[in-house]
């Protein structure tokens, strides 16, 4: 690809990753969440694949695979965390610790430190979707064949 595309991809990649992270982070407060944020971040990866070519990223396939598995394992493990009560029970909410503040009532700007295990699950899903979609785009680009380009 041309210099223009490469330069813009360099500028936009961190932006899209940060914005994806923002959407995941605020999943329990604003529209969006793990899947949407992960997809936004994966669009940044897709941009890199288009700008720099898939071959330079081919070695990252293993990393993406591990990241995807970790996301899945983390999500299921967070479900197991609730087994003291029931599966998926939100044991971290309202405990005062990590994401443990009580949800404020009335009009307010939103407290990020609430909702217990939900934000953690959003992160797990976010990483899984980022890795999964990223791997799909990368594989399409790697095995697409000459006539598809």
């Amino acid at each position: 690809m041309t210099v223009v595309v490469r330069t813009i991809a360099r500028v936009l990649l961190p932006l899209s990753l940060v914005f994806g992270g923002y959407v995941v982070m605020h999943g329990h407060l604003t529209p969006g969440g793990g899947f949407q944020g992960g997809a936004v971040a994966a669009s940044g990866l897709a941009m890199v694949v288009v700008a720099f070519g898939a071959d330079r990223l081919a070695k990252k396939k293993g990393l993406l695979s591990v990241l995807e598995s970790l996301g899945g394992v983390a999500f299921a493990a967070l479900g197991f965390l609730g087994l003291g009560l029931t599966f998926f029970a939100n044991v971290l909410a309202k405990t005062g610790g990590l994401f443990g503040n009580p949800v404020p009532y009335g009009p307010n700007p939103g407290d990020l430190n609430t909702a217990g295990t939900l934000p953690l699950m959003n992160w797990a899903v976010g990483f899984k979707v980022l890795a999964g979609l990223g791997a799909v785009v990368l594989l399409f680009a790697l095995f697409g064949g000459e006539h598809d380009r």
Partner: protein, 510 residues
């Protein structure tokens, strides 16, 4: 932990499936042992759940609540995701457990490392998780989610041999059919959600008025699920899919089809219980007859052993539809023969899982030693593989319903019940069985009899273990069917037949 058993049966294979690619990086043996361990844990789990449900009644498990029994919020309305395991769900879970026990050890040996064994095992565990979820859930939307989980995992397994030309085609066909069926099902849920504002199966069932919208939703559910169980006009994906997936994983595809069939029973008997037109029962019966006839006729011309067995598997779906359809027709009159036919249809689900499972394992073993499944090239394998030949013969006879094997035990109940409704139904069903016997006799003769030929591989003892599990099941169920019908099948059939009130009471209170 035992109080969490229903969810653990779903969650453990989910976690196990996601962990497989990580464990594969540590060591391949660790991964293989892990997969077999997970399959054993799931089998033990469904066994425990079934024992509890058969002795103590419906087991409700509420996800995310303070206690697993907290079915309603203070407004008196079920909103959480619930697992509702009644005798029929537990029975379905048992089928999945038995086949998982046979399929995973076989798969660990059968799938070559260079063909991406890690991913196949991971997808297999995810498919198992989806199947267990479909069997145990008591929530319509949750059912749809697990339906999609199984669809995606199944398509991944079907298109697994990407370097062949037929596997991707089969996967594409299946994916198209599965997506359409999933979307039809989702649209049905959307209709009911719009009307009643709830997704809990028991709650909607209690509210259901039988309005026009409900009928449209029923039509959508029926068409979606009949596609997924490979009933006759839309059966064409199944032979491709069963034939192309790695043999050990085809067992899970068979269970996947059956659990969709279970979903159909759940919709017809529990969700729409008492509000169905009599015509729906006749629709199910006619689909059943069409399926068994079309599949048995199609099996005659097959030259690929995998596809031939797959058509046999599809035709058996017809018997289940026939048996339970007779029950559905006679549901309003509460005629005894309806219950007999239903017991037969439900018993046949278990028998079919065992016989078709064993046939596919035999196909896998033949492919393993000869590298081909083409009937025109095979022959004389009985000299080198006497055990496989015996298993194939046993399963073929059971599939065709020859006494004293298990296929006979369930088919005789279907014949008995359907004969009282209309002898024509029975005559057609017997005719299809005879056709299948002829087809499988020819296949057995072509593959295992004749002059000795060269083989390139050796059968591993794990293959024989997996086959043995299923073969013993076939013989035990055939020789003493009475015990299993009394203890396991009858409660499952009763749960559909009269159990709707209990199912609703378990969630909504007395």
């Amino acid at each position: 932990m035992s109080v969490h058993a229903p969810i653990l049966v779903i969650a453990i294979p989910l976690l196990g499936g996601f962990a497989v690619p990580i464990l594969a990086r540590i060591h391949r043996t660790v991964r293989d042992l892990w997969v077999v361990l997970i399959a054993c844990v799931v089998a033990a789990g469904v066994g425990y759940v079934a024992a509890q449900v058969f002795s103590q009644g419906i087991w409700v498990y509420v996800l995310g609540a303070k206690t697993p029994q907290e079915t309603r919020v203070s407004a008196g309305f079920p909103i959480r995701i619930m697992l509702t395991v009644d005798a029929m769900s537990a029975f379905m879970g048992l089928i999945a457990g038995i086949l998982a026990l046979a399929a995973f050890p076989f798969a660990v040996r059968f799938i070559p490392e260079e063909e991406g064994k890690t991913l196949a095992l991971a997808l297999g565990l995810l498919l198992l998780a989806g199947i267990a979820g479909m069997a145990y859930t008591g929530d319509l939307f949750n059912f749809f989610v697990f339906l999609e989980v199984t669809s995606i995992a199944a398509c991944g397994l079907i298109g697994f041999r990407t370097w062949t030309s037929r596997a991707p085609e089969a996967a594409f066909k299946t994916m198209l059919l599965y997506s359409v069926s999933g979307l039809l099902f989702l649209l049905g849920i959307a209709f009911l959600y719009g009307e009643y504002g709830a997704l809990n199966l028991a709650y909607i069932s209690a509210q259901l008025r039988g309005s026009m919208v409900d009928r449209i939703a029923l039509a959508l559910f029926l068409s979606g699920l009949l596609m997924k169980v490979a009933a006759a006009p839309v059966h064409f994906w199944a032979p491709d899919a069963y034939g192309e997936a790695p043999a050990a994983k085809t067992l899970l595809l068979v269970v996947n089809t059956q659990v969709s069939l279970y979903g159909l029973w759940r919709i017809l008997f529990t969700l729409y219980g008492g509000k169905l037109d009599a015509g729906v029962g006749w629709l199910v019966i006619s689909m059943g007859l069409l399926t068994m006839a079309v599949a048995a006729l199609m099996a005659i011309g097959q030259t690929d052993l995998g596809r031939l067995v797959a058509y046999g598997a599809v035709s058996q779906i017809g018997y289940m539809l026939l048996g339970v359809g007779v029950g559905l027709v006679s549901l309003t009159s509460r005629a005894d023969y309806g219950l007999v036919a239903m017991k037969g249809g439900i018993f046949h689900m278990l028998n079919d899982a065992l016989t078709v499972g064993l046939l596919f394992l035999c196909v896998g073993a033949v492919e393993w030693v000869k590298g081909t499944r083409d009937l025109r090239e095979l022959g004389g394998l009985g000299h080198q593989l006497p055990a496989v030949a015996l298993c194939f013969l046993l399963a073929s006879l059971a599939l065709a319903g020859i006494p004293p094997l298990n296929g006979f035990a369930s088919k005789i109940m279907i014949y008995e019940g359907s004969f009282r409704l209309s002898p024509i139904l029975t005559a057609l069903a017997v005719l299809a069985s005879i056709l299948l016997l002829a087809v499988f006799a020819r296949a057995f003769q072509g593959v295992f009899l004749g002059p000795r030929t060269e083989i390139t591989g050796r059968i591993h003892w794990v293959f024989l273990f997996s086959m043995g599990v299923l073969a013993v099941g076939i013989m035990v169920l055939g020789l003493v069917p009475g015990f299993f019908v009394e203890q396991v099948v009858a409660p499952a059939a009763e749960a559909l037949w009269r159990g709707r009130a209990l199912y609703l009471a378990a969630i909504l209170g007395g």
